[in-house]
Amino acid sequence: MKLIIAIIKPDRLEAVKQELYKTDVNLMTVNEVLGHGRQMGVTEVYRGVKEMGNLLRKIRLEIAVNEDFVEPTIKAILNGAQTGQIGDGKIFVMDLVECVRIRTEERGTTAIG
């Protein structure tokens, strides 16, 4: 089991979700984060004082999947999120030791989906 974390642009969320559905990945957890990367922020000005904002709004997806879903999930995210422009984001994959479905107390690979 793996935990996939993806940082994407906010306006790509809808497309990524659609791609994930196609790949039969329906479960995920989403939140808003601020990303600091290659992409330059937009200058802000308050009463004539410039502020170089370097944190940009991004969406963070957290998806737990079984091994054989790892590559399809990555592909789906790439399909949905790639624009070819700086700021497209990253995907991180980590090992998942255990997974529990709270409702049923099922564990492991059956609990994940």
């Binding site: 306006d11 809808e14 808003e32 601020l34 937009v42 200058t43 802000e44 308050y46 904002g53 944190l55």
Partner: protein, 495 residues
């Protein structure tokens, strides 16, 4: 597309109505007796000190033998006895119009919140900014030349430049507009209307118009569309006024005018990225706050249009509140039936639709008629928003056309149906009170305004687009107008 065919038929209908009317008017010369415009006088009370005894009339102190409120049209002036030519300011009337002016001013920020709450978090300042900048720009434009273009007397199309820089606009009443309040106050009151009208259009191109293009478009639009149309309907010598069209507080001048320009803008600027998706209001309480301020300010808008603390003001106040309420309720019921639950945004939208619809008739219809007008306002606007808009496929982001133009058309026509001399002796009777001609006159006013406004708005739009490019880049649209057009964030995300 089938829809455009329907549209063509509608236009043809309007044209035949116009012709029918033209014929009739030619044969019946007395038809223009009832003055249009916001300053409906009670001509029947002329010369009677205690007209208060006859129900429906209210004596104003100090207007001893003059008409209570000077009707603004030529025929009304004729009934004024000679030797009574020095109008005087009345402190009560002045107080009411002063505060009404402030109330109408508050509507523009109200509108900013009404719209601002509905857009995304990254575009809210774009909306607020556009509304506020209009408040600034048009306030100055109005003093410099806008008032003159709209209200300087004499011409049919524009008002001319006699009153540029407020030259000659002093503190004594200008009796053709308002006989009991200082002329400058009338000027300021009207100025607030000139501000909110272009502001209404903002909702159509929300989230995607470049700020520089916005500025250029709006200054031109106010000068070449708002100012002339205001003159037509309210200015001494305006052709719609002379025709006898009834528009108490600006259904035609403000709502239809802005609404049709909004439709033009929505069509030509194109859909938002993502294809004109639903609105997902980032802060509905702001929208409700805006609705509250609009409703509150509308008392100044409509009841202030009587230009005095007189009975017309009372009538306008009562019907304004009643129509808004009925329309809010009606939209709630529509939502309940079609979407299982009544929604807050629905009630707010309905209330605004009702306020729009009652605007032209506020001084001519009764409270019971206002309930009917309000109820139907929501029905028509609901249809416009849920059926017509998806049908034609334009992306009128915040439904300016669907609420203001449709509501305004219904209101103008409803005035032609429900107007009653029982309510306002200086007004006219509508279709339901035995005067079908008034309905045709209303139709003509509506159609004339729509065609002129659509065409001239389009020309202005195209000129601005060529020079400045109206739409922001796709990237800027994605990032949002707040950051890209104004270098600001509405909210801190992290602190």
């Amino acid at each position: 597309m089938r829809q455009w065919a329907v549209l063509t038929v509608l236009v043809l209908c309007w044209m035949s109505a116009g012709m029918a009317l033209a014929t009739e008017t030619a044969t019946r010369p007395g038809a223009t007796l009832s003055p249009g415009g916001s300053v409906q006088g009670f001509t029947s009370s002329h010369g009677e000190r205690d007209g208060g005894g006859s129900d429906g009339l209210m004596p104003v102190e100090g207007a001893t033998r003059a008409p209570l409120i000077e009707a603004q049209s030529a025929p009304a002036s004729q009934v004024m006895p000679t030797g009574e030519s020095v109008p005087k300011n009345d402190t009560g009337d002045t107080a009411w119009v002063l505060i009404s002016t402030a109330l109408v001013m508050l509507m523009t920020p109200g509108l900013a919140f009404f719209y601002g709450g509905m857009v995304g978090r990254r575009n809210v300042l774009g909306i607020l900014m556009q509304c506020f900048v209009l408040l600034c720009v048009i306030s100055v434009q109005w003093v410099l030349y806008g008032y003159s273009l709209s209200f300087a007397p004499g011409k049919g199309f524009w008002g001319g430049l006699e009153w540029v820089g407020l030259k000659g606009v002093g503190f004594t009443p200008y009796k053709d507009y308002a006989a009991t309040i200082p002329h400058q106050l009338f000027m300021m009151f009207q100025g607030m209307f000139a501000i909110i009208t272009p502001a209404l259009i903002i909702g159509a191109f929300a989230e995607r118009m470049k700020f520089s293009a916005f500025m250029a478009f709006m200054i031109l639009w106010t000068t070449f569309v708002y100012d002339p149309v205001a003159h037509w309907v309210w200015g001494v010598g305006g052709w719609l006024k002379d025709l006898g069209a009834l528009d108490f507080a600006g259904g035609t001048v403000v709502h239809i005018n802005a609404g049709i320009a909004a439709l033009m803008a929505a069509i030509f600027i194109g859909k938002r990225n993502g294809g004109g998706k639903t609105i997902l209001p980032h802060n509905l309480p702001f929208t409700i706050l805006g609705t509250a301020l609009l409703w509150f300010g509308w008392f100044g808008f409509n009841a202030g249009s009587s230009l005095g603390a007189n009975e017309l003001a009372i009538n306008a106040f009562v019907v304004t509140n009643t129509a808004a309420a009925a329309a809010g309720l009606s939209w709630a019921l529509l939502d309940w039936v079609f979407n299982e639950k009544p929604t807050m945004l629905g009630v707010a939208t309905g209330a605004v639709a009702g306020l729009v619809a009652i605007t032209p008739g506020a001084g001519f219809v009764s409270a019971l008629s206002a309930i009917v007008i309000g109820m139907f306002a929501s029905i028509f606007c609901y249809l416009a928003v849920t059926v017509v808009k998806p049908g034609f496929g334009y992306d009128d982001a915040l439904d300016v056309f669907g609420v203001h133009c449709v509501g305004g058309i219904w209101g103008a026509l409803a005035t032609g149906l429900f107007a009653s001399k029982g309510v306002n002796p200086a007004g006219a009777d509508g279709l339901f009170f035995g005067n079908p001609k008034q309905f045709l006159v209303q139709l003509l006013a509506v159609g004339g305004t729509m065609i002129y406004s659509f065409v001239v708005s389009l020309v202005i739009y195209k000129i601005v687009d060529v020079i400045l490019k109206v739409r922001v880049s796709e990237k800027d649209e994605t990032v949002g107008l707040d950051l890209t057009q104004h270098h600001e964030n509405a909210y801190t995300i992290l602190e």
